[in-house]
Symmetry: C2
Subunit: 367 residues, 2 copies
């Protein structure tokens, strides 16, 4: 793709893919799950923790960092890698999703979006050009085109939002100046297969070094998400990584890889941790339940993360009851590790031609 | 002292002492600073963090753990070391101080104290025997006699509280059944030299394996604290460790060691961290100050902790502004490391016969 980026498809098993995505801050072995560091920190974890759980890619949110501390400040102190001390690849989103979900929208037009900051109520304007300028200041390895994310079941709005997203994708490509960042395009179109197909064809035609599927995991059914992935997957170039934005659960990762996805990100593992819940190989558990009060068992006997190697459910439940910060830290370590482990296991299964069996077994155990 | 404990005085320099205190969970090199894990967790830190900052002794609070999750539960799941996964020495206080400061006191009499839980308002009673029973359930290496901590300037109350503390100290000795725990007596007497001398002589006569000085750092002046230490120090046995409870700042540690103290504990480093403040070799700084917004400097250039080795003041200030938990974690790592480093440096200075010069230099830099 360039001197800075390359994507090699190393193995395929059905639609599932194992690849190597080279970036200026190191290689990503796909499938890969990226924990989210909204405000330049994966909540409650140090970079050392991220390293220990095997994280390779971390996502940070352009909307939040633009508002506070400001992308100019981050550029001045050396960029996001230096700022948050994460030496491996970083991905920033475009700010679009947060503007639509968090910002008080004043106006959307073909030029861009005017919104109110959720921090202090001040008025701001994001355009494709501005989003790229901010992301160039932040300096992530992977940056995203500015898109409009519509309510998934509203066909008229999705058609309009998709057209805007396409126009904005071209403007983002034109606005981009740094060569050490890979700009990914984003497919929109809600739950409508014809719109999704049109969007995938258009975005593919722009020859981005990677392509993302946006506007999913925003309220639609799992069946609708899977159906859309099956529409989009064959229309995106095989030799570019595919990124399913904002997804998801262990089941979602498996269902995504089964349908050709390479990259995932989600706040779920850290958000669940703050809500006392943990992934296990047998499904989700609420650690604060009374039945755990005197349990010397770890969260998941099948897990060898720092939390499960050391701490009992009784201790974790106590930390939760006592409102101790360590509860979030230990549950986040476990939950992120659980998703990264599934991504790694899928990769191995793909190399061994055993992906279907792996997926069937894990989905069965989780059910 | 016993098959489980011994204290060797390795070097002296003036009144300052360097010693080795052997416990069932490892050796303590004194002077030693113990971070506080009130609810069986040093707030915002994992045991790995504690290990990395060089912690050897951790304090946990009997009052809090008795109320939640309950000392019987902790005993059932294997004791406090196993529960909180801290394999090195632990010290528990008697619960006395918290009963008087946090509990809604219903009644104090010569038998014990009836109080209301700050957690749920339920009524409880602590006696010397009950405090020892709880501490035996918790299973720390060092446990404390149940004492009454009076307002430091009230002579009549201090006289009565001291006498009760002495009677309770004898009852604690009689109540104790475990041989793998060292019970320390506590000297009381407020800011009154004659009471303190009487208390030190009495407590020393009971031949505890270690002696503590309680009722300081509770509102009295620094001069009063130093004066009391100078009264108590020569009256306590040389061949037993001396523990100054609930102290303190970098200055307090130096002033304590200068007056014969070996062991310290304090919530200050973690509490300051939650209030955005950090120790430096030039005094305390508030990291959230505007002047740090674009600073690429660490908290303290003279510090080589994880936080100072990696993170800028600009980043820490951003985490504080964004109310991110990582701010507490990174500032706690630094603040605890700073106190542990001072304790280690004092130990080295004592071995080298350079304690006075060290103390003078550091106190001057801090001022």
């Amino acid at each position: 793709m360039s001197q800075y980026f390359s994507f090699d498809l190393q193995a395929q098993d059905g639609r599932a893919r194992a690849g190597l995505f080279r970036t200026p801050h190191g290689d990503l072995q796909t499938p890969v799950f990226a924990p989210v560091g909204t405000q330049a920190t994966v909540k409650s974890l140090t970079p050392s923790h991220l390293d220990e759980v095997g994280a390779s890619l971390v996502l940070a949110n352009t909307y939040h960092l633009y508002l506070r501390p400001g992308d100019d400040l981050i550029a001045e102190v050396g960029g996001l890698h230096e700022f948050m001390q994460w030496p491996r690849p970083i991905l920033t989103d475009s700010g679009g999703f947060q503007v639509f979900s968090l910002g008080g929208i004043n106006q959307i037009d073909d030029e861009g979006v005017t919104f109110k900051s959720h921090v202090d109520g001040s008025t701001h304007r994001l355009t494709p050009e501005k989003s790229i300028a901010i992301q160039e200041n932040l300096g992530a390895d992977i940056i995203m085109a500015f898109d409009e994310c519509a309510e998934p079941y509203d066909r008229v709005y999705n058609q309009r939002a998709m057209q805007r997203t396409h126009a904005w994708a071209e403007r983002c490509l034109n606005a981009k100046t740094r060569h050490d960042q890979a700009l990914f395009g984003i497919v929109q179109g809600g739950i409508f297969p014809d719109l999704r197909a049109e969007s995938a064809r258009f975005i593919a035609s722009l020859d981005f070094p990677g392509n993302a599927i946006g506007g999913l995991s925003v309220g639609e059914t799992k069946e609708a998400m899977h159906a859309i992935l099956e529409v989009v997957d064959p229309l995106l170039p095989e030799d570019k990584p595919r990124y399913l934005m904002g997804v998801g659960t262990p089941e979602d990762l498996i269902n995504g890889v089964m349908r050709g996805v390479d990259i995932f990100d989600c706040v779920l593992p850290t958000r669940l941790a703050r809500h006392k819940a943990a992934f296990t190989s047998r499904g989700r558990v609420n650690v604060s339940k009374a039945e755990n009060a005197r349990s010397t068992r770890p969260i998941d006997e099948a897990c060898d993360c720092y939390t499960c190697s050391n701490f009992s459910r009784a201790y974790l439940r106590h930390l939760i009851a006592a409102k101790e910060m360590l509860a979030s830290t230990l549950l986040s370590i476990h939950n992120i590790y659980a998703l990264i482990r599934i991504a790694k296991e899928m990769r191995e299964a793909i190399f061994e031609g055993q992906f279907s069996a792996y997926a069937a077994r894990v989905l069965h155990e989780l059910a």
